[in-house]
């Protein structure tokens, strides 16, 4: 008889479905050949296209076709190598089951080498296929803002901020606190020495940090019993995290980008209203004010940035400009993605991330952190909040999810483009 007095029927069924024992069997191929199906689909499609194009080129040369063939050549090459490796692996696996002992031994010897080959070719393939985000190589700014509501959200915002700070320290990323606005009230203190945060900006100065943290943007939800709660009820509050592209401190290559009107980061100085928040009065030698706050307003978009962290107006202005550029670049990028999304089929648009979506839940009571997009549940919440390996696991899972989504979006884009190209012009007129 079972030790448990009662077992949920659906649990039993789900156990049976997974095949409880199978869960612990390590399959050698799983970790190396883990390409998303969408990626493989696209690779197959492109390879077919490449073959077709080369056949066309063999008969008559056309510059356009040659250019396209050149573009997809690398992918087709990588895919063919990958297919070859997979085929030989299958062959070896077939040999392993053969009755001949000598044959089995030989296959066993070859197996490891073939696995390595497969892993390498799959890596190459995914690199060749994955669309690269234009900001991917940049450092980033992580902005933490508490959601609407009471102080509980502010306390948790502080925890989230510290979580990213600790994560960067653990990973060895260089960081700088650009802004940290807190009201360290004595009347109310959150658990673990949390302070009520109003807004904080952390700059991660490593190149490629944007690609690493891109998936963190969105609403982070917390479910816990606040330290200030007397009757022990669980509260739910939210914290918004925005990840903005930034510039490397002494980057010479990207410096020119600011002045390039084509760049996402370009801002016409005439469109920005700069205000010093300084009391009126005689000024000059008559007064001795310490206010150094700077507020920048980008008039066309209405985006405002105010900075008052430093005593130096000079530093505040430089920081404010940096944040404004990053926000505007992000906004422009989002607008373009939105436009691209409108072209795609409606199936995909639901999977896309928008600003207001909750992406992650931190549940203190169940010691659980759930990422809603990657569908990943991890336990050991304290380690997540310390920015430990568990958080790294979540971030990596989101990364995988984002890559897959990017590829799907790319596929959908191409389909839409193909459809638009094939559609008879009559259809458009009818609209």
């Amino acid at each position: 008889m079972s030790a448990a007095p009662w077992v949920c029927r659906s649990c039993v069924r789900s156990l049976r479905r997974i095949g409880f024992a199978q869960q612990f069997v390590r399959r050698a191929s799983t970790d190396s050949v883990k390409l998303p199906p969408a990626l493989l689909e696209r690779a197959r499609f492109l390879t077919a296209e490449h073959d077709q194009l080369s056949a066309q080129l063999a008969t008559n040369f056309d510059e356009k076709i040659a250019k396209r063939a050149g573009e997809v050549h690398r992918i087709a090459d990588a895919f063919k190598k990958f297919e070859n490796a997979k085929a030989s692996l299958q062959e070896l696996e077939g040999l392993l089951k053969s009755d001949d002992a000598e044959m089995r031994e030989l296959a066993q010897d070859d197996l490891a080498a073939t696995h390595d080959q497969l892993a390498e070719s799959s890596r190459n393939l995914s690199v060749a296929l994955t669309p690269k985000h234009p900001f991917a190589d940049m450092p980033c700014l992580i902005e933490v803002v508490p959601g609407p509501g009471g102080t509980e959200g502010r306390f948790f915002a502080d925890t989230v901020f510290k979580m990213y700070q600790a994560y960067c320290t653990n990973k060895g990323f260089r960081t700088k606190v650009v802004q940290y606005l807190a009201a360290d009230s004595t009347g109310e203190k959150g658990g673990d020495g949390e302070t009520a945060l109003q807004e904080a900006v952390l700059e991660v100065m490593e190149e490629g940090a944007y690609a690493h943290f891109r998936g963190e943007a969105g609403m982070h939800r917390v479910q816990r019993v606040p330290a200030t709660e007397k009757s022990g009820r669980t509260h739910t509050s939210a914290v918004a995290v925005w990840v903005l592209p930034s510039f490397a401190e002494n980057a010479t290559a990207s410096d020119g980008d600011w002045d390039n009107p084509e760049s996402d980061f370009y801002i016409d100085p005439a469109e920005v209203k700069s205000e010093k928040m300084r009391a009126s009065g005689a000024g000059g030698q008559h007064v001795n004010k310490t206010e150094s706050a700077i507020r920048l307003t980008h008039i066309p978009t209405g985006i405002t940035v105010s900075m008052q962290d430093s005593r130096s107006q000079h530093t505040n202005r430089a920081d404010a400009w940096r944040l404004l550029r990053s926000r505007i670049a992000q906004k422009r990028r989002e607008a373009r993605e939105e436009a691209a999304r409108a072209l795609r089929s409606s199936v995909l648009s639901s999977a896309q991330l928008t600003r207001g979506d909750k992406i992650r839940t931190y549940n203190y009571g169940q010691d659980r952190c759930t990422d809603h997009r990657a569908g990943l549940d991890v336990h050991n919440l304290p380690d997540v909040l310390r920015g430990g390996d568990t958080l790294g696991k979540v971030i990596n899972a989101v990364h995988g999810w984002l890559t897959e989504k990017d590829i799907q979006a790319l596929l959908a884009d191409e389909e839409a483009a193909a459809a638009a190209a094939n559609a008879p012009p009559k259809g458009r007129k009818g609209k």
Partner: protein, 346 residues
Amino acid sequence: MPRLPPSLFWRARKQISPFAPLLLPVCRTLDSTANELRWIKQHVNSTKSLVPRRLRIWQACLKRGDRGMPLQYVLGTQPFGPLEILCRPGVLIPRPETESLIYHLHSILPRHSSQPLKILDLCTGTGCIPLLLSSLLPASTKISGVDISPQAISLSRENLTHNITLSHLPASASKSINFTKADIFSPGFVPSLGYKPGELDILVSNPPYISSHGFNTTTERSVRLFEPKLALVPQVTAEQYDCEPEDVFYARLLEIISVLQPKRVLFEVGDLDQAARVAAMVVRGKGALEVYAQAVEIWRDEPGVDSHEEGVTEKMGVDEEAEVEIKGQGNGRGVYFWRRDDQESE
């Protein structure tokens, strides 16, 4: 000043920190209290001492709030552009208005000058103007600062080495900048500088410009009590000059200018009325000053920011027939004039 409601003190205590009510009487708003307290904490955290941290914060808050000492004297520094200027009682604290005047002056200078510029700053105080100009201009620029106060001169020299150690300035700045103690009213002052007439490119000055009436009425308490009156109100009698007592430095500066014939001159002034008076002095100038009479501008606090629609320039009559252009936003803050003959030759 209106009285602060007691509820504000409670809110400062509850929302910011138990130290905050100490600072509230001088900061007057919760926002600026929170900022100043944060800066005090940062300062205390970044300096080492045997005295416990909270005690030092409390002491600093008492100095700042209870006695009203300027924060710059409490912390010992004031940012000025990219520089960090040391501040000490006895020497005037650099003002942000001076900073924006100097930035604007730099922005209108011709980009490529073949010869290194020669710059003179009279009444230099902490030395902030020479140091900022040196950080903005090529390293070959020769800059001199002059002040009457021995405290100011020793502090300005300290500031020079301080900013070189912080690597805000190149090491060569110690050679290209020099500070000398001198009284600009003494008869032998101009020859002692050793400039040939017309050799000097820029003359800058932020002299004491507050009238004794203004000192008692419009000047802030912490300025009156803690900053040197020598740097705020002219301590020289105006008998030999035909002008208001608070303008006496400008009258003397114009005498110096008529001998040195610098290419460009920038004065900081107290308000628009004073700016008009000083501009009138330049416009009416006789003899060697006539070359400047046609090229005078009044700058406001933010001379680089346009306050009007394009094409419209703000003008002000300073004399019976002369009108002077006013640039920027804010209070009248500076008078700028240049040698006309020189501009045409450029």
